[in-house]
C-alpha cells in the first residue's frame, strides 16, 4: 500500500464529501452473523470535529471527477481543483481497518458523477457488495442514490446498504434550476419513489418469510441546502413535510450553505454560514416528527420565517396563548408535549409519575423540565404560579432577559465592534 498516495486521496475525497451533513448510523438492525465483523444497531458518534459535528461514518467520495456543473458544489466541473479517485479495494481496506479500530460505525459513500448515472451507481454498489459478501462486514453502509440510476441498480443497492439517500439540494425546483441547470428534480424523485415502494414491499415479505433478505433497513434520507437560494423557511419546511409524507423519509437534513465558490448566483464568499437558521429548522423538523405539530402551525403565510431569537415551540406558544396554562397533572401527553421547556423524555416521565401523586415545581425541575420557559405555561400542584396576565410578547422578553442563548454571545460580540 502506498501510504502517501492514499493519504492524499483521502484528504481530497473526505474534504469534498464533508458538506453532506447526513451522519446518522442508527435505525438499522443488522446483526453480526456467523462471527463476522460488526453490526449496525444503535447509532454511535465516534468523534466530533472542531466545528462540533459528529463523525460516525467514514464519509468519502469515490471520486470528485464530475460531469455536472452545479454552482454550489466544490466538485463542479468548472472548478479548478485537484481531482482524485479511489479504487474499489482501497475503499474496502480503509473501511475495514477503520472499523476494526473502532473509529467508525461504517461507510458513507457518495460520488461525483463520472460518465453517466448507472456507471457511477454500479461502482458504489460493487463496493457495498464486496464488503458484505467477501468480508462478512455487517457495519453500517449508507450509499448515495445517483439521480437517474436504473431500478435494477437501486434494487441491488437496497440489498447491501442500510440507508440510501438522494440529495434534493435545493428546497424548490426553481432553486435547483437556477443553481444546477444540469439536474432536474424528476430524476432525483424517481429513485426515491422506486425505493419507497421496494422498502414497503420487502417489509411485507419479511413479515411473511423470516428468511427474506433485509432491504435498506434504515430507510432513505435527503438533504437540502439552506441559504444559497432565496426560499423562506415556510417553503423549506413544506417541502420537507411533503417528502416525509409521500416518500416515508427517515430524515431531511438542512445544510447551511458554506460559501466556497464565487458565483453571481450565490451569496458572496464572505457571507457567514446561517447556523442559527439551520438550528431552528432542525428544531421545527423535530416538532413535526416527534411532537405532533403540523407544518402549518409552525410556519404559514403570516409567519413565513422561523423566529431566530427563540425556538419554534416557544414561538408557537406565545402566538397561541389561549391554549395555556396547561395543567401538568391532568392534561394529555399531546398537550404536555406542546409546552415550551418540556421535552419528549420529561413529558413521558410526567405522565408516568403523576399516577403516583400530583407533581409540584420541584419534582418537575428534577425530571429535567426547563422551568425558566415552562413556568409561564403550566400549573401544577403548588399555590405558586404565574398570576399576571402576560401577553406573548411579555413572556418572550422575560425569557430572553433571563436565559443565556447559545447564540446571544455571538450577537454581543458583533455589536461591540461598532
Amino acid at each position: 500500500m502506498n501510504a502517501d498516495r492514499i493519504t492524499e486521496k483521502l484528504n481530497i475525497l473526505a474534504d469534498a464529501a464533508k458538506y453532506d451533513v447526513s451522519c446518522a448510523s442508527s435505525g438499522s438492525k443488522r446483526k453480526n452473523e456467523n462471527k463476522g465483523l460488526g453490526n449496525a444497531s444503535n447509532g454511535i458518534c465516534h468523534s466530533y470535529t472542531e466545528d462540533g459535528r459528529c463523525v460516525s461514518l467514514l464519509k468519502i467520495l469515490l471520486t470528485n471527477h464530475c460531469i455536472f456543473d452545479c454552482a454550489y458544489c466544490v466538485s463542479r466541473k468548472s472548478n479548478d481543483i485537484q481531482r482524485a479517485a479511489f479504487t474499489v479495494q482501497e475503499v474496502v481496506d480503509l473501511t475495514i481497518n477503520f472499523y476494526r479500530r473502532n473509529y467508525i460505525e461504517g461507510l458513507f459513500l457518495s460520488s461525483g458523477i463520472f460518465k453517466d448515472a448507472d456507471f457511477t451507481m454500479e461502482r458504489l454498489v460493487r463496493i457495498a457488495k464486496k464488503l458484505r459478501t467477501e468480508h462478512n462486514f455487517n457495519g453500517y453502509i449508507h450509499l448515495k442514490s445517483i439521480p437517474g440510476a436504473s431500478d435494477e441498480l437501486m434494487n441491488e443497492a437496497g440489498l447491501y446498504a442500510d440507508r440510501l439517500s438522494v440529495n434534493l439540494e435545493m428546497p424548490t425546483e426553481a432553486g435547483l434550476k437556477l443553481l444546477a441547470p444540469d439536474k432536474n428534480q424528476a430524476d432525483m424523485i424517481k429513485p426515491m419513489g422506486y425505493l419507497k415502494n421496494a422498502i414497503i414491499q420487502r417489509t411485507e415479505e419479511k413479515k411473511l418469510f423470516k428468511k427474506a433478505p433485509i432491504f435498506a433497513p434504515a430507510g432513505q434520507s435527503t438533504q437540502v441546502i439552506i441559504g444559497a437560494t432565496p426560499e423562506n423557511d415556510s417553503e423549506v419546511l413544506r417541502s420537507a413535510n411533503y417528502f416525509y409524507k409521500n416518500f416515508n423519509l427517515k430524515r431531511v437534513y438542512y445544510s447551511g450553505y458554506v460559501p466556497v465558490l464565487a458565483d453571481s448566483r450565490l451569496p458572496a464568499l464572505n457571507t457567514s454560514v446561517p447556523m442559527v437558521r439551520e438550528n431552528r429548522l432542525y428544531q421545527a423538523d423535530w416538532l413535526m416528527r416527534f411532537y405532533g405539530f403540523k407544518v402549518n402551525e409552525i410556519v404559514n403565510d403570516a409567519q413565513p420565517h422561523l423566529d431566530l431569537d427563540i425556538d419554534p415551540k416557544l414561538s408557537w406558544a406565545i402566538r397561541n396563548m389561549q391554549a395555556f396554562p396547561v395543567n401538568i397533572n391532568k392534561a394529555d401527553l399531546q398537550m404536555i408535549l406542546r409546552v415550551p421547556g418540556i421535552g419528549l423524555l420529561s413529558a413521558q416521565k410526567i405522565v408516568s409519575a403523576r399516577k403516583f401523586g400530583k407533581l409540584n415545581w420541584d419534582q418537575l425541575k428534577k425530571m429535567g423540565v426547563a422551568l425558566n420557559r415552562a413556568k409561564y405555561f403550566v400549573i401544577c400542584n403548588s399555590t405558586e404560579f404565574e398570576r399576571r396576565d402576560l401577553t406573548g410578547n411579555n413572556i418572550k422578553q422575560f425569557i430572553l432577559a433571563t436565559s443565556q442563548s447559545k447564540f446571544l454571545k455571538n450577537t454581543q460580540v458583533q455589536l461591540n465592534l461598532f
Binding site: I6, K35, I44, D51, G52, R53, M367
Partner: protein
C-alpha cells in the same frame, strides 16, 4: 441511626438490605468500608457479604421490580458514588414497602436519584462504546486503554463481543487496573502488569507495521472533514470533554 458498613459490591449492597429487614432497622446510613465516619453516638454494623442472603433479597426484589429495573439498579451501583448507596438502599426499601410497582414514580426522590445515576452511568458506557480506540498488536490482538469516570467495563462486554466477534481484543481500564479480554470465544477479566502503559504511544514496539499508517490516515481524515468556517469549540468540547483526549488517536 445505624451505620452499616459494606464492601462496595452489589452483593454486599443486597446483604445490607437483608440486615435492614432482619434487624428491623429504621434509620440507617450505608457506607463503604474505608470511609470513616466519626460520629460518636451511633451504632455501627459491619455487613459481611453473604451470597445466600443477597440472592434471597434479589429474588424478593424481582417480585417487586421488573428485570429492567434490576438492571438499572445494577447500573446505578456501578457509579460507585460515595454516599449514593443510601439512594439505592432507599429505592430498594421503597420498592419492598410499596403495594405497587414504583419504577416510574419519578416524583419520589429515591426513584428520581436512581434514574439520574442510571443516566450518568449509561452515558459513560455509551461514551466508551464511541471512544475506545483499538491498536493492533503483533499477535493480532486489538488493544485499547480507557479511563472511564464510572466502572462501566462490565456493561461494555455485550456490545464489543457482538461487534468484534472475529478479532481478539482487550479493553483495559487503567484507573481501576483491570480489563476485559476476548479470545474469539469468550471474554474474561484480566489484569496486566504494565500499569505504566497509559498512552497509546507507549508500546509502539508491540504494534503491527500498518498500525502507524492507519492512525496517520485517521488523523488526516479527522482534520479533512472539519469545516473551519463553522468552528464551534464550545460544542466540540461538550461532545468530547478534554479528559478523554489522551486516549483518542485523533486528538493526540
Amino acid at each position: 441511626m445505624t451505620t452499616l458498613i459494606y464492601d462496595g459490591t452489589f452483593e454486599g449492597l443486597l446483604t445490607s438490605v437483608f440486615e435492614v429487614y432482619d434487624r428491623r432497622l429504621d434509620r440507617v446510613n450505608l457506607q463503604k468500608t474505608g470511609l470513616n465516619s466519626n460520629a460518636l453516638f451511633e451504632d455501627k454494623l459491619q455487613v459481611i457479604t453473604d451470597y445466600v442472603r443477597a440472592n434471597r433479597v434479589l429474588k424478593g426484589l424481582k417480585q417487586k421490580v421488573s428485570s429492567m429495573g434490576i438492571q438499572r439498579l445494577y447500573a446505578a451501583h456501578l457509579a460507585e458514588m460515595d454516599g449514593e448507596e443510601n439512594s439505592l438502599l432507599g429505592y430498594i426499601r421503597y420498592a419492598f414497602d410499596a403495594g405497587q410497582n414504583i419504577e416510574e414514580d419519578y416524583g419520589n426522590k429515591f426513584v428520581m436519584r436512581v434514574s439520574e445515576m442510571v443516566r450518568m452511568v449509561r452515558r459513560e458506557k455509551h461514551r466508551m462504546e464511541a471512544f475506545v480506540r483499538f491498536q493492533k498488536l503483533k499477535d493480532e490482538t486489538y488493544y485499547a486503554a480507557v479511563e472511564p469516570d464510572f466502572n462501566v467495563l462490565p456493561l461494555l462486554i455485550r456490545h464489543f463481543k457482538s461487534r468484534y466477534a472475529d478479532q481478539k481484543w482487550i479493553i483495559y481500564d487503567i484507573k481501576r487496573k483491570y480489563g476485559i479480554y476476548y479470545d474469539l470465544h469468550d471474554t474474561q477479566y484480566i489484569s496486566l502488569d504494565f500499569a505504566s502503559v497509559n498512552k497509546p504511544g507507549d508500546v509502539i514496539a508491540a504494534f503491527t507495521e500498518d498500525e502507524g499508517i492507519y492512525q496517520h490516515l485517521w488523523k488526516n481524515y479527522f482534520s479533512s472533514v472539519n469545516i473551519p468556517s463553522r468552528k464551534n469549540t464550545k460544542l466540540h468540547v461538550r461532545h468530547i470533554p478534554k479528559r478523554y483526549w489522551k486516549h483518542l488517536t485523533e486528538k493526540i
